[in-house]
Structures are given as structure tokens and as C-alpha cells.
Subunit: 129 residues, 2 copies
DNA sequence: GCAACTGTTATATAATTAGTATAACAAACA
DNA sequence: TGTTTGTTATACTAATTATATAACAGTTGC
């Protein structure tokens, strides 16, 4: 899996990495049980520090996207992905609210917004199914 | 307009304030030409520093949501809201992509996601139209 | 056994951001 | 003449982000 980071972005590197890996899972480029590079390998590949990778991995582990075996390695959770819990649903709403607020203020209709979302959905899932 | 800030949130105060004001515009609680409290008044009301308010106002001014007259005051842009430019469309996509990526990874369908968005749309716009 | 690798932990440092605290300025206004 | 406006400047604290090393304990392969 190819990961491009934007070092100039205001989005922290560890968050970019977390998001890219989740998107990789969403697009099925990464499948359950698949091993991920070690923190040191990934750090060398991307040219960033080991701890930055570790921070992303810890977030992914905390949310249940990956498993970390002490001296074995990192794998995409073989037991499947975390479910749509009420807690996640709420955090999703909290994240969407200011975004949708601005869209409305700028005159976007619910339909317009839905089209944008649909575009992104198909962009991410257009791969083999 | 009543503004509640969460001082414990990981979202910076000035961003919370920016988002609340934009949501106020979206819900038509704030209308074009309506004056906003001065940076000092707002700071006193919310119990935060003047510069924190000023930072939010500068962001809103920069995006065209409000106008700031040097010695008059701050008003919601009387000439209407900023349009849906290509630049905004792109930043909207950039913001939505990681959110939608996680939704897909957790097994949400486009339809499920659309329902959540529709809920938020109606929550914000349920007021007088 | 030994070397290489794993995640983990610890410490230190630099840069940036967020927020506060004052203070002063020039223009507008009652 | 005060008061209020946005603006600008300086200084400081705290937290976050990212890097740089270093060491540890368990695993694996030779």
C-alpha cells in the first residue's frame, strides 16, 4: 500500500497516517489479518520518526482497527472492524455538524451535499468488491 | 444568540466560536446585516480572552461571512454569504474524505451515512424558514 | 547461543499552536 | 471629553507535534 504524506499540511502526520490506513481498509486494499509494516520500517519508508508511526498505530489499536502482538507485529484486526456503536455515531455527528453548518450557510442544499458525499463514497469503494 | 463553549474540548475555542456563528447563520438565527458583539463584549460574556474572539472573527472575515468596520463594529455580511467556490468544494471534500473513509471501514452504507447527514440538516434548518 | 527484529518505554529537545494578560493607538460617536 | 471600536504589540504559560536517542524484553532464524 502506497502512502503519501503531506508534511506541509496542518493535519498532523500521525493523523494523516491513521486516516490513510482506515481508508485502505475501507477500500479493501487492506484486508482483515493482513500484516502492516513495523513502526521502524514504516518510519524509514516515510522518512519520519518511529514515534510518529507508533502514535498512529496506538490510535488504530485503541479503536479496534488493528491488533498489536507484543513481539510479533501489527495486523489488520482479523475479527473484523469495530462496529457502528452509539459512541461512534455521536462522534460522527459531532464531526459532521460544523461541516454541514458551513455548507448550509454557503447555500448548499441537502441534495448538493449528498452528491459530494456520494462522489467520495464511490471514489473510495470503486475498487474490486 | 446563545453560545455554549466546551472549554474541555480538544477543539480550540476560537474554532468552536467560528463554527457556532456559521451554524447561527445557517439556521437563520443570524441574518445578513445583523451586528455581532464587539470582541471585548463577547470575551466578557463567554469568559475568555479578547484575542481568542478576535481570532474567530478574523477567520470569519477572511472567509467572507462577516464584515468588520474599523470603528463601527462587526456585522454578518449584508451582501450575502460566500459562494460555493471550487476552492471550498475541494476543502469540503478533503474534510469529508477521512470521515467517510472511517464510516465505510466500520460497515456503514452510503444510505446509512446519508440518513445521518439528513438528520443534521434538519436539526440545523428546522427553525423558521 | 547469537544476532536481528518486534513493540514498548523513557528522556530530552525544538517548533508550533492555543490561550491569557496587559497595554497602547487612532477613529468614531454621544 | 470620555467611551467604545478594531487593531497592534509584547510577554508569558501550557499543550501539542515531531524528532533524536537509548534501552528493555521477548521472538525468530541461523
Amino acid at each position: 500500500m502506497i502512502i503519501n504524506l503531506d508534511l506541509q499540511s496542518d493535519v498532523p502526520i500521525y493523523l494523516q497516517l491513521r486516516n490513510k490506513i482506515i481508508e485502505g481498509i475501507a477500500s479493501k486494499e487492506l484486508v482483515a489479518g493482513e500484516p502492516l509494516p513495523s513502526v521502524r520500517m514504516m518510519a524509514a519508508d516515510l522518512g519520519v520518526n518511529m514515534h510518529t508511526i507508533n502514535k498512529a498505530y496506538q490510535l488504530l489499536k485503541q479503536d479496534g482497527f488493528i491488533l498489536i502482538h507484543r513481539q510479533k507485529g501489527v495486523v489488520v484486526n482479523p475479527d473484523g472492524m469495530p462496529e457502528v456503536t452509539n459512541e461512534y455515531r455521536q462522534s460522527l455527528k459531532d464531526a459532521l455538524r460544523p461541516i454541514i453548518g458551513e455548507a448550509i450557510a454557503r447555500g448548499m442544499s441537502a441534495k448538493d451535499f449528498q452528491v459530494v458525499c456520494a462522489e467520495i463514497f464511490s471514489q473510495i469503494t470503486r475498487e474490486v468488491d
